[in-house]
C-alpha cells in the first residue's frame, strides 16, 4: 500500500463517517434484525428482587433522569412499571431532578393508561402515587429515612400524603422493601450512602449505559441487588417479561453501530501502524 493511499484513508472526510453511522442506525429501524437477547446476572438481580416481593408490597421508584436520556431510560422505566403492576405491587415515585418530574409523569401516565385499556385500571393514591420533585438530595434522603411523610408533605398534585392509603404503614424510607433507582447521573451514590447504609433499604440500579461500569463496585459490595444498564439492560428486562419493546428494538441499531465503531478503530489503527512503518523504513534508507 502506498503512503498516499494510507494518508487518504486516515484523512477520510468525516461526513462519510457520519453517513455510515446514520445508515447503520436507520437500516435496523426500517428492517429489524430481531436479534436474540441473553440475560445477564446483573439484570436478573433487579428482576428477581422485584419478582420475589409479595403481592401488595410497596416499592419506591426514583425517577432521576433528564429528557436527554429518555430514549435510553423510558423503555426500561416502562418495563419496570409493567413488572411492578403485573406483580400487583404498589408503586410510589419520587424525583430529585427538576426535569425528572416530567419524565415520571409521562411514563406513569403511559403505563396506567395501558393498564386501563387492558381492563386493569389503577387507582391513584391506592395503587400508585408520585411525590414529585423534592429538593435537598442527601439531606432529603436522610430525612426520608427518619420521617417519610414529614419529608414529602404533599405529592405532585398537592394532595396531603398523610391522607394517601398507599402510604399507610410507611413511616420511614426503611419501610419500603425495595428501591428501584432510574438514574442517568451519580444520584445512586446518595441513595446507597444515605439510604441503603443508614436504613438498610435494598436498591436496584436502572441506569444509562455510561453510568453502569462505575457502579459495579457497589454491586460487588452488596449495596445493589443488580444493575440494568442502558438499552442492553432494558432489552434483557423486556425479555424476562416476555415481550420485545423499544429497548430490544433499539439493540439492533446499537449492535450495528458498535461493530461499525470497532471497524473504524481497527481500520484507523491499521492505517496508522502502516504509515508509521513506512516512515521508519524511509528514515532507515
Amino acid at each position: 500500500m502506498k503512503i498516499k493511499t494510507i494518508e487518504k484513508l486516515l484523512s477520510i472526510d468525516r461526513r462519510i463517517i457520519f453517513l455510515l453511522v446514520a445508515a447503520v442506525i436507520l437500516i435496523p429501524i426500517i428492517k429489524p434484525l430481531n436479534l436474540p437477547v441473553q440475560v445477564t446476572p446483573e439484570v436478573l438481580g433487579v428482576y428477581d428482587a422485584i419478582d420475589k416481593l409479595p403481592e401488595g408490597s410497596k416499592i419506591l421508584i426514583a425517577f432521576d433522569y433528564e429528557p436527554a436520556s429518555t430514549p435510553e431510560m423510558d423503555p426500561m422505566a416502562k418495563a419496570l412499571l409493567r413488572h411492578c403492576f403485573k406483580k400487583k405491587l404498589r408503586v410510589v415515585g419520587i424525583s430529585w431532578l427538576e426535569q425528572g418530574r416530567g419524565n415520571a409523569d409521562n411514563v406513569l401516565s403511559f403505563i396506567t393508561n395501558e393498564r386501563a385499556e387492558k381492563g386493569h385500571p389503577l387507582e391513584y393514591g391506592v395503587d400508585y402515587a408520585y411525590m414529585g420533585f423534592k429538593p435537598g438530595k442527601n439531606a432529603m434522603i436522610l430525612k426520608l429515612g427518619r420521617d417519610f411523610k414529614g419529608a414529602c408533605k404533599t405529592d405532585y398534585r398537592g394532595n396531603d400524603v398523610y391522607d394517601m392509603p398507599i402510604l399507610e404503614g410507611i413511616e420511614t424510607l426503611g419501610d419500603f422493601p425495595y428501591l428501584a433507582c432510574l438514574h442517568d447521573d451519580s444520584m445512586i451514590n446518595s441513595w446507597i450512602t444515605y439510604g441503603h447504609e443508614v436504613v438498610g433499604i435494598k436498591i436496584g440500579s436502572l441506569c444509562t449505559a455510561i453510568m453502569a461500569p462505575g457502579i459495579y463496585a457497589n454491586l460487588n459490595a452488596g449495596q445493589l441487588t443488580g444493575i440494568v444498564g442502558g438499552l442492553k439492560g432494558g432489552s434483557e428486562y423486556e425479555h424476562l417479561l416476555g415481550y420485545r419493546g423499544l429497548a430490544t428494538f433499539g439493540m439492533d441499531s446499537q449492535t450495528l453501530i458498535h461493530f461499525l465503531i470497532v471497524g473504524f478503530i481497527l481500520i484507523g489503527n491499521f492505517a496508522y501502524l502502516a504509515k508509521e512503518r513506512m516512515i521508519r523504513k524511509e528514515r532507515l534508507r
Binding site: T40, N220, N269
Partner: protein, 230 residues
C-alpha cells in the same frame, strides 16, 4: 468589623459542623430536633439555588442583549422561552386545563414536544462524534492506549447480541476450550474486576479528600469560602 467578617463565620461553621456530626450519630434530644431543623434549612436553601440560577440566567442574557453582543438573538429566544414556560407552568391549572403543569397543559406540551426531543437529539449526536473520534484519534500510540483499546473493543463487541452469538459459536462449534475467550465473559471480567478495582481506589480517594476538606473547613483552616479580604 473584623469579628463579623472573619471570626464569626468560622465560629458558626465550627459549631454547626460539630453539632451536625454528633447529631448524625445521636438522634436524641437536643441533637435530633437540631438536625431536623438544619436539614429543613438545607432543603429550603437548595430550592433557593434554583431562584439564584434563574436570576443569574436573566442577568447574563439581559446584559448580552443590552450590549448587542454576538449571538444576542439566542438570548432573546431564551427570554421568550423562559417567560412562556414560566407563566404557563406557574399559573394554577384548576380552572383552565391548559395552564399549570399537569398532563395536557401547555407546559407539558412544551416539555414533551420541544424540551425532550431537543435534548435527546443533542445527546444522540454523540454517536456521530464518537464514531468520528474513534476513527481519527483512538490510536495504539502507547502501551496504555493499546490496553485501553483492546479492552474497549472486547467490551463493545461483548455487550451486544452479535458478540454473544459469536462467543456461543466459538465454544459450541469450534472448541469448548475457547470458553475462556468468550467475549461476553471477558466483558463481565473487565467490568467486575479491573473496573471495580479502579473505581474503589477513586471512591476511597474521594472519601478521604472529602473528610480532610470538611475538617479543614470546620476547624477554620480552609477559609476560601469566605472570599478575599478586599
Amino acid at each position: 468589623m473584623d469579628f463579623f467578617k472573619r471570626k464569626f463565620p468560622i465560629m458558626v461553621v465550627l459549631f454547626t459542623g460539630f453539632v451536625m456530626m454528633i447529631a448524625y450519630y445521636v438522634p436524641h434530644a437536643p441533637f435530633g430536633p437540631i438536625w431536623e431543623g438544619a436539614s429543613d434549612w438545607y432543603m429550603i436553601i437548595s430550592a433557593f439555588a434554583l431562584v439564584l440560577a434563574f436570576t443569574s440566567l436573566i442577568r447574563t442574557h439581559y446584559r448580552k442583549i443590552r450590549e448587542g453582543k454576538q449571538g444576542w438573538g439566542y438570548s432573546a429566544v431564551m427570554f421568550v422561552c423562559l417567560i412562556v414556560t414560566s407563566v404557563v407552568g406557574v399559573l394554577p391549572g384548576d380552572k383552565n386545563p391548559l395552564l399549570g403543569n399537569q398532563a395536557g397543559s401547555i407546559y407539558m406540551w412544551i416539555f414533551d414536544y420541544m424540551n425532550t426531543p431537543a435534548a435527546a437529539t443533542v445527546f444522540s449526536l454523540l454517536a456521530f462524534y464518537i464514531a468520528s473520534a474513534a476513527y481519527r484519534a483512538f490510536r495504539v500510540r502507547t502501551i496504555d492506549a493499546t490496553i485501553m483499546l483492546i479492552a474497549a473493543l472486547i467490551v463493545m463487541v461483548g455487550r451486544v447480541p452479535w458478540g454473544e452469538i459469536f462467543s456461543e459459536f466459538m465454544t459450541s462449534k469450534i472448541s469448548p476450550h475457547l470458553a475462556v475467550l468468550r467475549l461476553d465473559k471477558l466483558t463481565s471480567f473487565f467490568l467486575n474486576y479491573p473496573t471495580v478495582a479502579a473505581r474503589r481506589a477513586v471512591y476511597l480517594g474521594i472519601a478521604l479528600a472529602t473528610v480532610s476538606t470538611s475538617l479543614r473547613v470546620i476547624l477554620g483552616i480552609e477559609r476560601t469560602y469566605m472570599g478575599s479580604d478586599e
